[in-house]
């Protein structure tokens, strides 16, 4: 008789644990999940761009206030979303490993630019990006507040996206003009 795998939060806890253990025990698996992770962003027209990641594509644009078509979220909004998505994955992962049923989970993120005038070319100094990003987690789950806070902390501490944003990251840029 086939073994029935139990499910929790739409995941298979045993399978997840097996995968996580293989990352620790199998160098090939660790290498594969370590990277490189890739994205190729292709300009379309105006402020529109499309990002291609493996078999996936995500459209980006800018708001109408910038004389764009606002056909998609802007890149910095998608950064917030990427953080929220990564935190979601981390929360569900840690909850599932602890056997906690999650009913609803929502993360609200926001940030204000420090000095957007630098982006606009009106200022040479300062940070055009977000100096602070707030992320508030709302969750309805079958666990005590203390346990859920631990899970949230594990999600934040273990989030590749959040930790990339939170730490100084070495960005290596290159440039090539093609043809004329």
């Amino acid at each position: 008789m086939a073994k029935v795998e139990k499910e929790l939060n739409g995941l298979r806890p045993d399978k997840i644990k097996e995968i996580l253990d293989s990352m620790r025990d199998n160098p090939e698996v660790l290498k594969a999940v370590t990277g490189p992770w890739k994205s190729r962003v292709v300009w379309q027209k105006g402020f529109k761009a499309k990002a291609y990641m493996r078999q996936h594509a995500v459209q980006m644009d800018e708001p109408e206030g910038l004389d764009a078509q606002d056909s998609a979220a802007s890149a910095h909004e998608q950064l917030l979303s990427a953080m929220g998505s990564c935190l979601t994955v981390g929360f569900v992962l840690n909850a599932t490993l602890r056997g906690v049923q999650v009913h609803d989970l929502e993360i609200a993120l926001e940030g204000n630019f420090d000095n957007i005038l630098k982006w606009a070319g009106h200022s040479k100094d300062g940070n055009p990006g977000y100096p602070t990003i707030k992320a508030k987690c709302f969750v309805r789950a079958d666990a005590s507040d203390a346990v859920l806070k631990e899970i949230w902390k594990a999600a934040v501490d273990g989030s590749p996206v959040v930790q990339t944003v939170a730490r100084p990251t070495n960005i290596v840029t290159e440039f090539e003009a093609v043809g004329s």
Partner: protein, 387 residues
């Protein structure tokens, strides 16, 4: 309509839920227990709510609405063709998502916590919306009874959602016809069974005049598209009058507040009742059940030009704070109204329920009890002064 004594004390409806009751409610919503099994559990909570109210000296009781998820979405259990949907499930159908996001942030709530009954097919009644609640209440108290039900405007506005409802009801007006008929049947049956007071909850009327200008919102259960405020209020008056037309022998009230989902005063709506009164006075109901214990509700003076046209269910206790109102202060507030209103037109109640949303009750039973005790003491003082 006669009443036994001056300044009757009543409640707006909901009572705080115990954690075991909320758990049982979740199990019922998840299909883990039946409605009958849930009702057996909830019976104890209703009996406790009745006892608290009786012991506190309340004259006109509700069952605490403790069987309900909230004051309007519970209808999904009682009607066919209507489904409880989270705002998070509706986001793909919302036209102005950015506007919704702003409201969510202002209210500091997640989208999964906002639920609305959405008409996804022809809406039909089964065994009534509140008849089982009423029968149980009536069987367990000798005092007068009040049943709060969602008003016709609230129900129509929250249930008609473009993209989901328009197959069964091309327009909101089409849905309104069925809603009015369902509520009429309910009211007639409640009256037949001996209900003393039927309260229509219409908090979204405040959103019409004081909400932001977004075309769509969910503040005060007002999910759905709104039009010009005057047009919306006219629509609300028409639906109310069609619902109660020709029915007498039972007291009808309309409850209007400015939101009761949070203890943070700054996220709730504010503004006096003035802009609503020309329309409310045209509703063929006896009483306006109002919140007046918070400064957000504005001055009582706005009722001067409409004096004695309707009974006022005066909100004299704020359900969202822990401080127990001093009976003497309540008496002072009522005396202000008595400068231009007759004593036999005034009922006393808290501003709103103590547990409007099962999972976000705004106070504990102990504090709710003390607040009602305080209101009752104020009523006793007032009766001595004015009999």
């Amino acid at each position: 309509m006669s009443k036994a004594k001056l300044f009757p004390v009543t409640v707006v409806g909901s009572w705080p839920r115990a954690p075991w009751l909320v758990q049982a409610l979740r199990r019922r919503q998840n299909g883990e227990i039946t409605q009958a099994e849930f009702n057996l559990i909830a019976d104890d909570a209703v009996l406790a709510a009745i006892k608290y109210q009786e012991d506190a000296g309340v004259d006109i009781l509700t069952d605490g609405e403790v069987r309900r998820d909230n004051f309007y979405s519970f209808v999904v259990e009682k009607l066919s063709g209507i489904r409880l949907m989270k705002l998070s499930e509706l986001m793909d159908y919302v036209k102005d998502r950015a506007g919704f996001e702003e409201i969510l942030r202002a209210a500091d709530v997640p989208s999964f916590a906002i639920k609305s009954p959405i008409a996804v097919d022809k809406v039909t009644g089964r065994d009534g919306i509140s008849l089982d609640e009423f029968d149980f209440l009536k069987a367990h108290t000798t005092r007068q009874t009040k049943i709060p039900i969602p008003g016709p405007y609230l129900l129509t506005r929250s249930a008609w959602f473009e993209g989901l409802s328009d197959k069964a009801y091309p327009t909101r007006e089409d849905l309104a016809k069925d809603v009015v008929q369902i509520l009429r049947n309910e009211v007639i049956e409640l009256k037949k069974r001996g209900c003393d007071f039927i309260q229509f909850d219409e908090p979204s009327l405040t959103q019409v005049v004081y909400g932001d200008e977004a075309e769509q919102t969910f503040m005060c259960a007002a999910l759905g598209t709104r039009r010009d405020p005057a047009e919306e209020l006219e629509f609300a008056v028409r639906l109310m009058n069609e619902t109660v037309e020709g029915i007498d022998g039972v007291r009808f009230g309309v409850h209007i507040c400015r939101g009761n989902w949070s203890r943070k005063e700054d996220v709730l709506l504010k503004g006096n009742y003035g802009p609503l009164l020309p329309w409310l006075m045209r509703m063929n109901i006896h009483q306006l059940v109002l919140e007046m214990a918070t400064p957000r509700a504005g001055e009582i003076e706005v009722f001067r030009e409409y004096k004695n046209q309707k009974e006022l269910g005066l909100g004299v206790a704020n359900p969202r704070i822990d401080t127990i109102e001093d009976p003497k202060q309540i008496v002072q507030s009522v005396n202000k109204l008595l400068e231009f209103y007759d004593a036999d037109k005034i009922f006393l109640n808290p501003d709103c329920g103590f547990g409007t949303f099962a999972e976000r009750c705004v106070n504990t039973p102990e504090i709710a009890f003390k607040k009602l005790q305080s209101v009752s003491r104020a009523a006793e003082i007032l009766r001595k002064e004015h009999n």
